[in-house]
Amino acid sequence: MKADVDDLARFHLVGHRVETELPAATQLLPALLAPYRDLPALRYDYPLVLSDESPFVEPLADVTNRALQESAPRGRDGERLRQNVLRIEAEIRRRMADGRRGSLGELWDAVALRPQADGDGGDMPTLSLLGAASAAAGRLVDCDRDVAAEVVTHLWAATERATACATRRRIDELTLGLAGILRAHDARSDEGREPQHLRASLGGADRAAFDFDAWSEIMRSAATPPTISDGRRRRIRSALEVLRTQRFVPADDDDVDRAGAYPFLFRSCVAAAAAYRERMPAMVQLVKALAIAELELRNGYRESESDAYFDSFDESSLTADDLDGFPSYLVCLTDADLTADELAQVTRILGSDAPINVVVEVRDVLGEPGRRRPPNGRSPDAIIGRQLGRMAMGAGTAFVVQTATSHIPRMIDRIHAGVTAARPALFSVFTGSTDHVPGLAPYLVASAAVQSRAVPTFVFDPDAGSAWADRFELHPNPDVENGWPAGTVRFEDAEMQRHTEPAAFSIVDFAALDRRYARHFATAPPQTWHAGMQPADHLVDAALDTAELGRQVPYVMMATADGVVHRVVVDRELIRIAREYGETWRSLQELAGINNSHAIALVAAERTRWEQQVADREATRPVEAAPPATVPVDPGPAKAAAETAVPDTPVPAAPAPDEPYIETVRCTTCDECTDINPRMFAYDDNKQAYIADLSAGTYREMVEAAEACQVAIIHPGLPWDRAEHGLDDLIARAGALA
């Protein structure tokens, strides 16, 4: 029997639970995804090159682009070089898809130096020819199952190397400084002035020329300088001991094995948290020793206050700045590792201030179909994978990145920021590498997960500010303003007619990839197509009237390997599941300020109020009184500063002419006036002269000082004691100065 329209409705309403004539939808791909089937033939942002130089992680395509930009000549030769480089790049991509691994140099040489079958391409450039020799050591990674852990670990290790190097240096400097204090004091002590000590301090050949007893005698005849107190010596010694035996950074920067130092890379959060706890006392001791050392060297250790402070120094005394130079922890997990204990520990870590980074490779977001969320006990892995990112954001203290492996290249700087942040961080990354989607490259699966909102990518960065607008980024999701990202499907039908049809890529399309969900789909043969068929995303979003049920049949467009496009109908169960994903996406959009419900309500309320006001005004306005049109006056551009302008600023008025005064701010501290009478003239806080006490001197001294003042800023005024001798002459001299 041939399938008919009723079969479609029946399938939609009750799914495979009843018999229909509809064929299954296996071997089909969502039509929007179909053009990417042969992934390695495309130039895309994998493989990645992991190198030891900033930015540490880069798409191969970026490395070659840069090399070409810098070294390819213009014109025909340049074009040929470009073609050859792109061929090498494509071949590397293909070999990696076949499982080859190695450094960029190895893979490049393997391609570039192989004998050419066809001579048309000319010489294949080596990396050094391209001026990119330094990139050769970089390791190539593809969009595999473990790439998230590899990238995060790589960025983390680079950060840790730099931190350890800086901390090592700081410890070295302080150790040296403290030892220097002890040495200096020892040399000045009585023992330090003993002949044998003096002898030891002098190089071999010259020893014979010295009489150390006499030297010691002379040294000892000088007053004993104050030596270091026992308390201080003990304090310095114990700080030195802590600095020398600490295990947080390796004793040597070149020591890649970190001999003797603690490990910071873990496979479980329980273990990482336990290590963090266990090392806390040592950390407190080290911070204390560093602080004491720094205070000692900066002459800031005051026993009266500092002793008491350090006596009660504990975990709670540590500030974020103190922990800055300490290594951070890294835990690499998969969602399958998240047992109840482990999950509880992840939650505790993310709510703490411990700098523990957790990478979770999420291998399943959809989960088994038909499994409902249990209210207690262990959730199915898929639920954890789906919710981990949002859960972590809830704590508000952790840096959170949620993404899929396909989008790692676009979020490297954010991942790097997370790794360097001085707080816990969660990287929840969907791998796309799953047995449930056979025959499709993990990159495409991951990419489809992001497209379909199964795995929205986002970043939550508590250091970016206190408002959601600063902290939360819903990027780089496609078409972020919309519900489902829109696309266009182009295809030819049986009559070779070309069609284009708008289509959204929704969670239903993503489920269509997963063979566990196959039973929710059925192919609709062309004779069953009818006007009641609706793109699935419309039905997911619509609030359906029960009356409509059965009359509207949702479908998605899927294509065969040779490009034939089919309509595939979807059952009601899947539409229900799809709605949940739609809601999750919408709530993330709200957090990002897109279609925020509070804002929309507020705007609506404001609009109503405004409309009401307008209406009220209309009702009460007298008919004839039209207001005169007023034109605002433009204040004009601000006055431009003239080149030679001296600003006209008010200046304090000079004192009355008969009172003596000094223009103190112009005084050059030359001592002339203060030499004449140090009681009448004195220096102020800025060491500039002023009249300190008029009664302490004579008018004669005032006039002499005024004459001596080389910058002529002493103004003698008129005599204050009319009885003084020779006033006429002095007044005349003073007048000559004015």
Partner: protein, 329 residues
């Protein structure tokens, strides 16, 4: 923003320093000597910045002006004639955490110390260099200096100096890596303070030439400029110095000069009448030698010993019967 334990305790134990806390011995300069004004300005800057005396160093060479470190109650190094800069550089490279000032005279800097001066500009280490230019050798009692004007009679040129004066500011502006150049006259204390302070805040080699009166040997030498404010050209700019309204009332001859403009700075610098005062040039992007050459780790005596041993080993001659080492090196 959090504070580390060290910063907290340092802040808690910080003592306020008055100007007198920076005053060392009583100055032995002649009464009326312009060096006094420079000293007062430096003490004010130390006080304003609340520099810890034990973390501040004044380095000098030889000359009247080079006595300045004695008059500061900070660390000081009264060095050899012409060698203030190498000493200061040594201090800075080993202890970049210290604030290092250099006081040098025109003889000290532009005669015997010229080679060090030129290369110090090129190194661009973070030093504040104040060149007291009295255009004469004061300490050696009235001898002609490279900056003395032509025809100046002195004990060494009784018939008048034969050569045109060297211009230290133009010279500095012409050297590779120059990053801060300013000029001032000692009799405008506000500007002496502001200009040196701008130099102190600049990260790099700040060269500040201060025309300084020596009433003992060149009495009245600067009088024509001192008594006529119109013959002082005040360079003002938000990236340089901005004079107070009081000062602007006296010194009305002002122009806006952007210290980023090297060509214009060179033009202005070559003028002697009026004397340009203010910040002529400033470039914050020139790297400091102590940063470029910063070792990535610290070497203590043990490491230095090891490195030396390794180096000596390369020259060691091994006894003939030493059969551990077959091939010679």
């Amino acid at each position: 923003m959090t504070l580390s334990v060290t910063e907290c305790l340092l802040a808690a134990s910080r003592e306020h320093h008055d100007l007198d806390d920076y005053a060392g011995e009583l100055s032995r300069w002649c009464t009326g000597c312009g060096d006094n004004a420079i000293l007062a300005a430096l003490q004010r800057i130390c006080r304003d910045e609340q520099l810890a005396p034990e973390r501040t160093v004044f380095v000098s060479g030889i000359g009247c002006s080079s006595r300045l470190p004695h008059y500061m109650k900070t660390y000081g190094f009264h060095g050899l004639h012409g060698r203030a800069l190498p000493v200061a550089e040594g201090i800075k490279i080993r202890r970049p955490d210290l604030d290092v000032f250099v006081n040098t005279g025109d003889g000290d800097c532009c005669a015997i110390g010229t080679a060090h001066w030129i290369h110090a500009i090129r190194y661009n280490m973070n030093l504040t260099v104040v060149m007291h230019d009295n255009e004469v050798y004061g300490l050696t009692k009235n001898q002609t200096s490279p900056t003395s004007p032509r025809h100046l009679t002195s004990n060494t040129t009784p018939r008048g100096a034969y050569l045109e004066a060297l211009d230290p500011v133009s010279t500095t502006l012409a050297v590779t890596n120059v990053s801060f150049v300013a000029q001032c006259v000692d009799w405008i204390p506000e500007l002496v303070h502001d200009v040196i302070s701008a130099g102190f805040h600049h990260k790099g080699f700040s060269f500040i030439r201060i025309l300084q009166r020596c009433p003992e040997y060149l009495d009245g030498h600067f009088d024509q400029w001192k008594s006529d404010p119109e013959r002082i050209l005040l360079l003002r700019h938000e990236d340089g110095v901005e004079p107070s309204p009081e000062l602007s009332r006296i010194y009305r001859n002002q122009i806006v000069h952007d210290p980023a403009d090297l060509r214009r700075a060179q033009e202005i610098a070559s003028d002697r009448d009026p004397i340009p005062v203010g910040v002529l040039y400033r470039n914050d992007d020139v790297p400091c030698y102590e940063d470029t050459r910063r070792a990535d780790r610290h070497y203590g005596p043990a490491e230095i010993g090891q490195a030396l041993e390794a180096e000596f080993d390369r020259f060691a001659i091994r006894p003939a019967n030493n059969n551990h080492d077959g091939g010679g090196r």
